[in-house]
C-alpha cells in the first residue's frame, strides 16, 4: 500500500486549521494531515525518521515560539529538508513579510481572506495545485 501524501499544517488557530481541514475534504486526493501548533513542533516532526518527505508544508507566519519565518528559514537551509514545498499562508500583506519569505525560499505566499468561503476555496486550490498538479521532488536517494 502506498503511503498517502503527507501535509504538515503549522497553524495555532483552530478555526484556520478547521478551514484547511474543510478544504482537504473538498479535494479529490486523500491526504494525511499533520497539524502542529508551533515552529519547534514542525521541525521536530520533520526530523523524525521517515520513509518519505512530506508533500507540502502549510506555514502560518504568526505562531507561538519560533515564528513561521524562522521555521521556514531553517527548513530551507537544511539540505535534507529544503526540497519540501513550503507554502506560507498569512494574514499579513506587508511587502516586508512577503519579501522575507520569498528570500528565505518559500515556494508560495498566500493571504488568508476574512471571508470564509474565499479562504476555504483558496486552500482547496493550493492543495490541488501542490498535491495533484506539481511533480514532487523525486525523493531521497536521487540527490546522492
Amino acid at each position: 500500500m502506498t503511503e498517502l501524501p503527507e501535509v504538515i499544517l503549522v497553524e495555532d488557530s483552530d478555526e484556520d486549521a478547521d478551514t484547511v481541514q474543510q478544504a482537504i475534504l473538498r479535494c479529490s486526493t486523500p491526504v494525511r494531515l499533520h497539524r502542529v501548533l508551533t515552529g519547534d513542533a514542525c521541525l521536530a516532526l520533520l526530523q523524525q525518521p521517515r520513509a518519505a518527505l512530506p508533500a507540502l508544508v502549510l506555514m502560518d507566519l504568526n505562531i507561538p515560539g519560533m515564528d513561521g519565518r524562522e521555521t521556514l528559514r531553517i527548513i530551507k537551509r537544511d539540505p535534507s529538508l529544503c526540497t519540501i514545498p513550503v507554502v506560507v499562508v498569512s494574514t499579513s500583506a506587508n511587502p516586508r513579510d512577503m519579501d522575507h519569505c520569498y528570500r528565505a525560499g518559500a515556494n508560495a505566499y498566500h493571504l488568508k481572506p476574512v471571508r470564509y468561503t474565499e479562504h476555504r476555496d483558496a486552500m482547496v486550490s493550493v492543495l490541488r495545485y501542490w498535491l495533484d498538479l506539481v511533480l514532487a521532488h523525486p525523493g531521497r536517494g536521487v540527490q546522492a
Partner: protein, 794 residues
C-alpha cells in the same frame, strides 16, 4: 640721455648737498638726503668741534646773529674763545662720556654777549666730531616748571592704559598739557605704509583729524629712517629759514655732517611746504617704536605762532615718547586679550544659542550674530548644502566659486589649522576683483575635512572704509610757491591705487579666534549629529512600533475576525430551522466582520503611505488619469458618466504609483457621491503662472479657501457635479475613517480615501483643498511643487 631705468643724477651732483641751495630741486622725496641737509633752523646756531682740542671746524652761517661772532672769527679757533674756559672745560669732560654718542645732552647755558640772550648748549658726538647746538632757553625764571613731577604723573597714567587707543589718548593729553601745543596726535603706520590718526588732543576750535588716513608718501622713507634713530624732532618755525654750515663739508674729512640727532637739523623744503599747506607754524614729532620697528609717531602741531621748545621740555617729551614705546607692547597685549575675550564670549554665546535652537540660523539672527565677534564687514557660512550670510558679502554664485577655489587650497586641508587669510584676496584669486569692495580681506576656516563646509569672514577694501586726509575730493590741493611738483597731495592718486584691493590686515588674535570658533562649531556639529542619530533611532523605533502595530492589526485582529465570520457563515448554512430574524442577525454579523476587515486594510495602507520611499520620475499626467479611470471603471457601473479633460494634462515630476492612487481615490469619490442623472467629471490643471495670478486674486478677495503656498506651483483639479459638501464639513472629510453619510449609502466605504489622498499629496510636497457647493458639486484641488518629495509631512 639717461639710460632707461636709471634715476637721473641729482642737481647737486658732484657737490655737497644743502637743502637751502638744492631742496627745491627735489623731485622724489625718497632720494632727499634729509640726514645731511647741510643746514640748521635759523633760530639756533651749530658748531662742529674737533673733540681733541675743541677747535671749531664748521659753523652755521648765522653765528653772528645768534652768538655775536662772525663765522670767520670762529672757524679754526678754540671754543674757549666763544664760551670761556669754564664751559669749555665742562664740555671737554662731557666728551669723555660715551653716552653722548648720537645722543644730545645738555652741556651748559651760555649768555650771548652781544644780545644778552641765554642760550642752552647741547652736545653730542657723531662720526668722530662733536656737535654743539645753541638755542634760546625760552625759560622764564619766574615760571620754572618741575618737569620731573609732571612726567612722573604722566608715566603712572601711561602704565595703566589697557588699550592702544587709551595709551595714545593719554600720550596726546600729557604731551599737550606739558607743551601747550595746539594739536597732538598719534599717527600709526599701517603695514602697507600708509598712516592713520588714531588718537588726538587739540585746541577746541580746530577741526578733528581723528580717523583720517594719509598716504605713505606723506612721510617719505628717509624721514622715517630718521625716526628710527632719533626720538624727537622739533621744528620751531616753519617760516624760520635755514642757515647753511660753513664750510658745507668737514675740512679734515671732506664729509657732510650727519645731522640726524641735531635738534636744529634743517627741514626739507617739501616738509615745510606740506606744513604750510596745512597752516602749521611749528611742529614737534616723536617716534613710537616697537623694538626696531617704527610703529608710528606722536605728532604735535602748532598753528598760532612759532613754538619755543627749550631743551628741558624736549627732554621731557622724549622721555614720554620712550615710555609710550615701552608700554606699547603691554597695552597692545592687554587690548588683544580684551578683544580675544570679547570674540570668545560672543562666539560662545552664538554656539550655545545655535545648540539650543538647533539651527545655524541662530548664528545670524542675533543678537549677537557672527558679525559681533570678529571685526568684519560680512560673514558667510556654508553648511548643509547652503549659504548662511550676514552683513556685506559677495553674491551666492560668487561664494560658490570662491568655495570651490578654497577647497583646493592646501591651507584649507591642514588637519589642525585649515585656515586661509589674506588682506588682498584678488592677488590670490583674480575673480575676487569683482567683489573687492566688500571682500578684499578674507578669513576662511574649514568645518569639514574636505573643506566643503566653511565659515568665511570678509573685510571691505580699505578705500571703502577710511577717511582720506589727503582726498582731493574733500579739499582742493594747494599749490605751493614752488609749484605742484612739491605738493605732497599729488601723490594721492598713486596712493589710492596702491591700496586698491586691500583690506585691513587680519590680526594673529583674530586668526586664533577663528580657529577656536571652528572648534566650537565642530563640537556643535558633532553634538547635532549625535542628537540626530538619537532622533533617527527614536524615529526608527517608532516606525518599527508602527509596523508592529500594523502587523497586529493585520494579523492578530484579523484572526478572530476570520473565526467569527466563519462561525456565522457555518451557523447560517447549517441551521435551516432558524427564523428570519436570526438569519438577519447572522447576516449582520457576517457583514460587520467584512467591514471590520476593510477598516483594518485601510488603516494598514494608510500607515504605509508615509513610509514607502518615493520613486520620482517624469510622469505624463494624462496617462496616469487613463490608468486611474480604468481602475475605477467597475464603480462606474451602468450609470452614465462624462469625463471631460478641457486641455491636455501636463507632465510633472512625481511618483507615478502614488499620483495614480490620488486620482483613483478622487475619481472614485466623484463617481460615488453623485445623484445627478449624468455624472460629469472635469479633470483640469493650472500652470504656475496661472496659480500665481489665482493666488494673488484669492489674497485680494480674502478667499481663505485658496492656499497661498499654491502660488507658482502646478495645481490639478477634479471637479464633479455631485452632492457637494457642506462648508462646515469640509475640514472633516480628510479625517481618518470620517464619513459624512450612512456607512452603506453611496456604495459604502471606509472613509480613508481622502485621508490617504491628503497624505500622498503632502508626501509629494503639495497640498489638497476643496471648493464645494452642496447640491451642485465639489472641486478637489491638489498642488505639485516643481521639486517634489521635499514636503514637510512625511
Amino acid at each position: 640721455m639717461t639710460p632707461l631705468g636709471a634715476p637721473p643724477p641729482p642737481a647737486w651732483h658732484g657737490q655737497a648737498y644743502s637743502t637751502k641751495r638744492f631742496g627745491v630741486s627735489i623731485t622724489d622725496c625718497d632720494s632727499e638726503p634729509v640726514q645731511t641737509p647741510g643746514c640748521v633752523q635759523a633760530h639756533g646756531a651749530l658748531l662742529v668741534l674737533r673733540p681733541a682740542d675743541l677747535t671749531i671746524a664748521q659753523v652755521s652761517e648765522n653765528s653772528t646773529d645768534v652768538l655775536g661772532m662772525a663765522p670767520a672769527a670762529l672757524l679754526g679757533r678754540p671754543l674757549q674763545d666763544l664760551v670761556g674756559p669754564v664751559h669749555a672745560g665742562l664740555l671737554l669732560a662731557m666728551l669723555q662720556q660715551p653716552e653722548i654718542e648720537r645722543n644730545p645732552g645738555y652741556a651748559f647755558t651760555h649768555t650771548a654777549a652781544h644780545s644778552g640772550v641765554a642760550l642752552d648748549a647741547s652736545v653730542h658726538t657723531v662720526d668722530g666730531v662733536a656737535v654743539l647746538e645753541f638755542e634760546a632757553t625760552g625759560r622764564d625764571a619766574s615760571a620754572q616748571r618741575d618737569f620731573y613731577a609732571l612726567i612722573r604723573r604722566s608715566v603712572a597714567q601711561l602704565q595703566r592704559a589697557t588699550t592702544l587707543s587709551a595709551l595714545g589718548d593719554i600720550a596726546c593729553a600729557e604731551i599737550r598739557a606739558l607743551t601747550g601745543l595746539d594739536r597732538v596726535m598719534v599717527y600709526r603706520f599701517h603695514d602697507d605704509g600708509h598712516g592713520e590718526v588714531v588718537s588726538e588732543r587739540r585746541r577746541d576750535d580746530l577741526p578733528s583729524w581723528l580717523g583720517l588716513h594719509y598716504p605713505a608718501q606723506d612721510i617719505p622713507e628717509p624721514a622715517r629712517e630718521v625716526f628710527r634713530q632719533t626720538w624727537i624732532r622739533p621744528l620751531r618755525d616753519v617760516d624760520g629759514g635755514l642757515a647753511e654750515l660753513l664750510p658745507l663739508t668737514h675740512p679734515d674729512s671732506g664729509r657732510p655732517l650727519t645731522m640726524t640727532h641735531c635738534a636744529l637739523r634743517g627741514p626739507s623744503v617739501m616738509y615745510t611746504e606740506y606744513l604750510r599747506n596745512m597752516g602749521v607754524a611749528a611742529t614737534l614729532t616723536m617716534s613710537i617704536r616697537r623694538g626696531d620697528r617704527l610703529w608710528g609717531l606722536i605728532a604735535g602741531h602748532h598753528y598760532s605762532a612759532p613754538f619755543q621748545m627749550p631743551y628741558d621740555l624736549r627732554a621731557a617729551c622724549e622721555l614720554l615718547a620712550q615710555i609710550v614705546s615701552l608700554q606699547h607692547a603691554a597695552a597692545e597685549e592687554r587690548e588683544h586679550a580684551a578683544y580675544r575675550q570679547r570674540i570668545d564670549s560672543v562666539q560662545q554665546q552664538l554656539v550655545t544659542q545655535a545648540a539650543q535652537e538647533g539651527g545655524l540660523e541662530a548664528l545670524l539672527d542675533g543678537p549677537p550674530t557672527l558679525l559681533d565677534g570678529l571685526d568684519t564687514g560680512g560673514t558667510a557660512l556654508y553648511h548643509r548644502d547652503r549659504w548662511w550670510c550676514a552683513g556685506n558679502t559677495p553674491p551666492v554664485q560668487a561664494l560658490d566659486a570662491l568655495r570651490d577655489w578654497l577647497s583646493a587650497r592646501p591651507e584649507m586641508l591642514l588637519r589642525d589649522r585649515p585656515l586661509f587669510a589674506t588682506d588682498q584676496l584678488s592677488a590670490h584669486y583674480p575673480p575676487g576683483q569683482t567683489f573687492a569692495d566688500v571682500a578684499s580681506g578674507l578669513l576662511a576656516i574649514a568645518l569639514s575635512r574636505s573643506a566643503k563646509n566653511l565659515v568665511l569672514w570678509f573685510r571691505p577694501e580699505t578705500t571703502q572704509t577710511v577717511h582720506w586726509g589727503g582726498n582731493p575730493h574733500d579739499k582742493p590741493s594747494v599749490v605751493g610757491p614752488h609749484g605742484a611738483r612739491l605738493t605732497p597731495r599729488a601723490s594721492f592718486a598713486l596712493f589710492v591705487e596702491s591700496v586698491r584691493g586691500r583690506s585691513k590686515p587680519w590680526l594673529a588674535v583674530e586668526l586664533e579666534a577663528a580657529l577656536r570658533f571652528r572648534m566650537l562649531m565642530m563640537e556643535l556639529i558633532i553634538a547635532r549629529a549625535d542628537q540626530l542619530a538619537g532622533l533617527n533611532a527614536d524615529l526608527e523605533r517608532s516606525n518599527d512600533e508602527l509596523d508592529a502595530f500594523a502587523y497586529v492589526a493585520s494579523h492578530d485582529l484579523k484572526e478572530p475576525l476570520r473565526g467569527i465570520h466563519k462561525y456565522a457563515h457555518q451557523l447560517a448554512e447549517n441551521m435551516a430551522q432558524l427564523g428570519d430574524a436570526d438569519h438577519q442577525r447572522l447576516a449582520g454579523l457576517t457583514r460587520l466582520t467584512l467591514r471590520m476587515d476593510s477598516l483594518l486594510d485601510s488603516l494598514l495602507h494608510f500607515s504605509r503611505v508615509g513610509r514607502v520611499a518615493l520613486q520620482l520620475e517624469d510622469c505624463e499626467v494624462g496617462e496616469i488619469v487613463d490608468e486611474a479611470l480604468e481602475m475605477v471603471a467597475a464603480r462606474r457601473g451602468d450609470k452614465p458618466a462624462a469625463i471631460d479633460v478641457p486641455r491636455p494634462l501636463p507632465s510633472v515630476r512625481a511618483d507615478r504609483v502614488r499620483l495614480r492612487e490620488v486620482y483613483t481615490n478622487l475619481l472614485s469619490n466623484a463617481l460615488k457621491y453623485n445623484q445627478q442623472a449624468t455624472t460629469v467629471i472635469e479633470l483640469g490643471w493650472l500652470a504656475p503662472h496661472e496659480t500665481a495670478a489665482r493666488t494673488a486674486q484669492a489674497a485680494h478677495t480674502s478667499d481663505k479657501g485658496w492656499p497661498a503656498a499654491a502660488s507658482g506651483q502646478t495645481v490639478f483639479y477634479v471637479r464633479d457635479n455631485g452632492i457637494g459638501i457642506e462648508p462646515r464639513h469640509i475640514d472633516q472629510v480628510f479625517k481618518m475613517f470620517r464619513r459624512l453619510h450612512g456607512r452603506d449609502d453611496f456604495g459604502g466605504g471606509t472613509g480613508a480615501g481622502l485621508t490617504i489622498v491628503k497624505k500622498l499629496v503632502e508626501r509629494l510636497g503639495g497640498e489638497v483643498w476643496i471648493e464645494s457647493t452642496p447640491g451642485q458639486g465639489s472641486c478637489f484641488y491638489f498642488s505639485m511643487p516643481a521639486d517634489p518629495g521635499l514636503g514637510t509631512a512625511p
